[in-house]
């Protein structure tokens, strides 16, 4: 069973994603900040990370850089309400950049594709 880490400062969003992804049969953990996420990642292995950018404390892009330095193979899906961060080339390190939407269809589809590509589905 694939293991997914959700990083978002909004509790409601984390709750929604946990609910939906668990419904789809993934093992889901969540972190409310970049610092917490990096801490978790240093202790456990995950198959995929869903990462928000705009958060209090360290932002998602900075966290993504650290994650990639540690494990270049870890697929990270950036999930931001704001499309402008695409201009920052660091976001190109991520597997993909998906704009937040109440319709999680696009996100879920990407998650499935990514895991399937890595043989983790």
């Amino acid at each position: 069973m694939a293991k997914i880490l959700i990083v978002d400062d909004e509790a409601n969003i984390r709750a929604l994603y946990e609910t939906e992804l668990e419904d789809d049969g993934y093992e889901v953990r969540s972190a409310s900040s970049a610092e917490e996420a990096l801490d978790i990642l240093s202790k456990e292995n995950f198959d995929l990370v869903i990462l928000d950018i705009r958060m209090p404390g360290e932002n998602g892009i900075s966290a993504l850089e650290k994650m990639m330095v540690k494990n270049r193979d870890l697929p990270v899906l950036i999930n931001s309400a704001y499309p402008a961060y695409r201009d920052n080339f660091l976001t190109w390190l991520a597997e993909d950049y998906i704009i937040k939407s109440s319709d999680l269809g696009a996100l879920k589809k990407k998650v499935a594709e990514t895991l399937e590509k890595r043989g983790k589905a």
């Binding site: 929604l16 309400a81 201009d87 109440s102």
Partner: protein, 852 residues
């Protein structure tokens, strides 16, 4: 004077008796001389007088103030009772009773004359008494009174003479003075003055003593002018008084001649003021007088007075040839003559001499005055002036011509300035060349430089090539007396109004390449030289052009303005055959200067007009850009705010929508929960759509371009909304130009553009309609048209539809068309629209057809 002489005679006649007069008292001393002069024998009583002597005295004179006088008087009265006694009493004393019988009783002061008169009377009466004793006293009294009166008359006459009069004896003793003399001498009386020369102020004048001596010696009258201390002048005339051919004394007459002298001094001053020699000649042509200037003029020394002028001048000059002095003496008319004289210093001078008569008291011409003026310089000036005058007259003729030319130029200049139109100006110029006096050529051709085509082009011509027509115009012009340029112009225009201007058509066809330097006109322009061609047909250089304008003799004048060639003027006299001269061309050249400027100005004006148009366009563009900039700035501010809000809204929307979807997924079919969750989901979608719009707008449109099949892109977008189109009963018509192919665009953004346009079209056609989409490749651009048959865009909104947040819909952000506009602009394209209410709207898009 006559009177004095008469009296002397009277005395002479009564002198036979040698009357003896006895004097008693010193004061009579001054009478002594007078008495002796008159022929009396005087016996001084104090020199031994014997009353009883046989020769009794004729009269006795007693000064009562002398010592012993009274006793002497008594004795005389006792011993010689018949001898008349003349008693002299001190001033103011009354006649005492004892003296009542005296012949006369006189008071001091008295004059010897008075005494003399009384004595004569007394002697005569004494003789009478001796003979006619009884009547003596009566007669004596009357005579005495009469004599007294005569004496007083004499005194009155003398005193009232306008002269100062002084009678002086040979010895210089004062005999008598009148009041006038006392007044002139400023003394009260001459009492006590023995000698006249002791009377102040006459003793101050030594010349008077000389005059006195001269008068006595020669028996001639002597005149002197005395200058007084107060600046006045006195004339002193000394006249000898003769008695029995010997001099008895001098009568001195004094007269105030101050005013005469002043006049004389003024006259002298006057005579020397003028720089003219003045001489007076008498009838014998001798110098009577000459002023100082004359003396200097001829270097005349003293002693020339009285010399014969002719002799005097003969020594030095031939002054007398043509002299008018003689004429003046004879005719009595003033004359004028000129004399050329070689002076001592060798210089030759010209003198103008005026001679005028001076008439004596009887009207006879006694003297001639000559006024001599040195006119040598004047003569030179006059002859120089005569030369100058001649030259001036010549110059004047030339100047008059120049002034006429300048006047014409001024008028031409004014006319040219007044008109801004090049054609009009050139017409004025050519007209003035052919019509106006001073130029008056038969024909004028104007070629202008065409800088764009580097050629010289025939532009205008004035004048007729038809001799008859030209003759008519000339006659018409000649019949008008033209005064001003504008008149000339008007007259000329009238004259040529309906004439055949064949010269004009002749020239229009001519054009010369400026690079072809073999051409006559091009050469003239290059050489900057005006040339007159005669017998042009026989000269290989000018033959071709002569044939072109059909003229054998003409002038070529290049026109320059501000150093740049602007054209060439050609003039000829094909009708009148008049020779073209340099002089005739001068006026034309001046005109040409003005015309060149007008031509240049015309060219510049048209260039400025072009520039102006370009500037107008640039300005419009600038305005547009400025508006765009303003809008962009406005949008930028709005965008930032919107982005902030959108971001804050999106997160909650994700939760809301996400859970609603989750709920809907688990809710039983047909349940209220499902319906509620669906509504939440729907509203969330709408809100998320708004947030998408706002965010993409505020983010700015940075196309991420890649090659894309443009027609396919539109087709796929249509597919995206196929459902809605069907639902709205809209027919779609597509006409794609295959030549459009792939172009480099941001596919997402272009999709967004068409999505917006299609959605708007759907909204505009709630009751169905037709949506037509065409693409066309043309001129490096792709032209797209999106046409609906909807309600159209109301005129009021036409300027606003591309503004952000403008919407006519009840829902939506109003950002759709604004984003569309920005995307197209970001692709260097253009979008615009045309719309008619209830007919429909067409959006046009133009994009560069570029490929990577």
């Amino acid at each position: 004077m006559n009177r004095t002489k008469t009296k002397t005679k009277m005395l002479d006649s009564s002198e036979d008796s040698s009357a003896v007069v006895i004097l008693f008292g010193e004061p009579f001393a001054k009478c002594l001389e007078a008495l002796e002069c008159e022929g009396f024998r005087v016996i001084r009583a104090d020199e031994g007088f014997e009353p009883n002597s046989s020769e009794g005295p004729s009269a006795i004179l007693i000064d009562l103030s002398a010592p012993e006088a009274r006793s002497f008087a008594s004795r005389v009265m006792r011993e010689l009772p018949t001898v008349p006694r003349i008693l002299v009493a001190p001033e103011g004393e009354k006649v005492p009773e004892e003296d009542a019988e005296a012949f006369a009783y006189i008071h001091r002061p008295f004059t010897p004359i008075e005494v003399l008169d009384l004595l004569r009377l007394a002697v005569e009466s004494g003789e009478y008494i001796r003979e006619e004793r009884p009547c003596l006293e009566v007669l004596l009294g009357e005579s005495a009174r009469e004599l007294m009166m005569n004496s007083q008359w004499l005194t009155a006459i003398l005193d009232n003479l306008p002269y100062g009069l002084l009678l002086v004896s040979n010895e210089g003793r004062v005999i008598r003075a009148n009041d006038g003399f006392l007044a002139l001498s400023k003394i009260e009386s001459i009492e006590g003055s023995g000698l006249w020369s002791e009377i102040a102020p006459w003793n101050r004048f030594p010349q008077l003593a000389e005059a006195f001596a001269k008068c006595l010696d020669r028996g001639e009258a002597v005149k002197n002018i005395l200058e007084l201390e107060d600046g006045g002048f006195l004339e002193a005339l000394f006249v000898p008084v003769m008695t029995n051919s010997h001099s008895a004394g001098v009568m001195m007459l004094f007269r105030d001649v101050t005013s005469d002298e002043a006049s004389r001094h003024r006259l002298n001053a006057l005579v020397d003021i003028f720089d003219e020699g003045i001489v007076i000649l008498d009838r014998e042509y001798k110098f009577v007088w000459a002023n100082e200037i004359f003396q200097k003029m001829f270097g005349v020394g003293e002693g020339f007075i009285g010399q014969l002028c002719r002799t005097f001048f003969k020594e030095k000059t031939d002054f007398c040839k043509g002299c008018t002095v003689k004429d003046t003496f004879e005719s009595g008319v003033a004359q004028r003559c000129f004399q050329i004289v070689t002076l001592d210093d060798g210089s030759v001078r010209t003198f103008e001499i005026l001679t005028g008569p001076i008439r004596g008291s009887e009207g006879e011409i006694s003297e001639v005055i000559e006024i001599i003026r040195d006119v040598s310089d004047r003569e030179r000036v006059v002859s120089a002036l005569a030369n100058t005058k001649e030259r001036l007259e010549n110059t004047n003729v030339q100047l008059t011509r120049r002034i006429d030319e300048l006047a014409m130029l001024m008028e031409l200049s004014d006319a040219l300035q007044a008109v801004d139109n090049l054609d009009e100006n050139l017409h004025i110029f050519l007209t003035s060349v052919t019509a106006y006096e001073g130029c008056g050529f038969n024909r004028a051709f104007l070629f202008l430089v065409d800088r764009d085509n580097n050629s010289l082009v025939g532009r205008y011509a004035v004048g007729s090539s038809n001799p008859e027509e030209a003759g008519r115009i000339w006659r018409e012009l000649a019949s008008h007396e033209v005064k001003s340029f504008s008149e000339a112009l008007a007259t000329y225009r009238k004259a040529v109004a309906d004439s055949d201007m064949s010269a004009a058509s002749l020239i229009r066809a001519m054009s010369f390449d400026l690079a072809d330097e073999g051409r006559l006109l091009v050469k003239a322009l290059r050489d900057v030289s005006t040339r007159i061609y005669k017998n042009a047909r026989s000269d290989p250089e000018s033959r071709d052009f002569a044939e072109l304008i059909n003229s054998d003799s003409f002038a070529v004048i290049p026109l320059f303005a501000m150093g740049r060639p602007v054209g060439v003027l050609v003039v000829d006299n094909i009708i009148t055959k008049e020779q073209i001269t340099e002089e005739g061309l001068r006026a034309v050249r001046m005109l040409a200067g003005h015309a060149s400027l007008a031509i240049e100005r015309g060219i510049l004006t048209s260039q400025i007009a072009d520039q102006y148009e370009k500037l107008q366009t640039a300005y419009a563009k600038l305005r547009e850009n400025q508006e765009l900039l303003l809008r962009t700035e406005k949008l930028s501010a709005i965008g930032k705010l919107a982005a902030q809000m959108a971001h804050e809204i999106r997160n909650p929307l994700v939760s809301i929508g996400g859970f609603a979807r989750n709920i809907a997924k688990h809710a039983p079919e047909g349940s209220n929960i499902l319906r509620g969750a669906s509504i939440i989901l729907e509203e969330t979608n709408r809100l998320e759509g708004i947030v998408d719009d706002v965010l993409s707008y505020s983010r700015g449109i940075k196309p991420n371009r890649k090659n894309a099949d443009f027609n396919g892109l539109i087709a796929r977008t249509l597919e995206m909304i196929e459902d809605q189109l069907q639902k709205s009963n809209i027919e779609v018509e597509v006409e794609f130009d295959e030549a459009v192919g792939e172009i480099v665009v941001d596919a997402d953004q272009i999709r967004q553009v068409f999505l917006n346009l299609f959605k708007n079209a759907i909204s505009a056609m709630p009751d169905g309609g037709k949506l037509r989409i065409t693409t066309k490749s043309l001129g490096g651009f792709v032209w797209i048209e999106v046409t609906d048959t909807g309600v159209g865009i109301p005129g009021d909104y036409k300027n606003k539809i591309f503004e952000p947040f403008f919407t006519t819909k009840s829902s939506g952000t109003g950002l759709g068309l604004s984003i569309t506009y920005q995307i197209i602009e970001a692709h260097s394209g253009m979008i615009w629209f045309t719309s008619q209410p209830d007919v429909g709207t067409t959006f046009n898009i133009k994009l560069p057809q570029e490929r990577e």
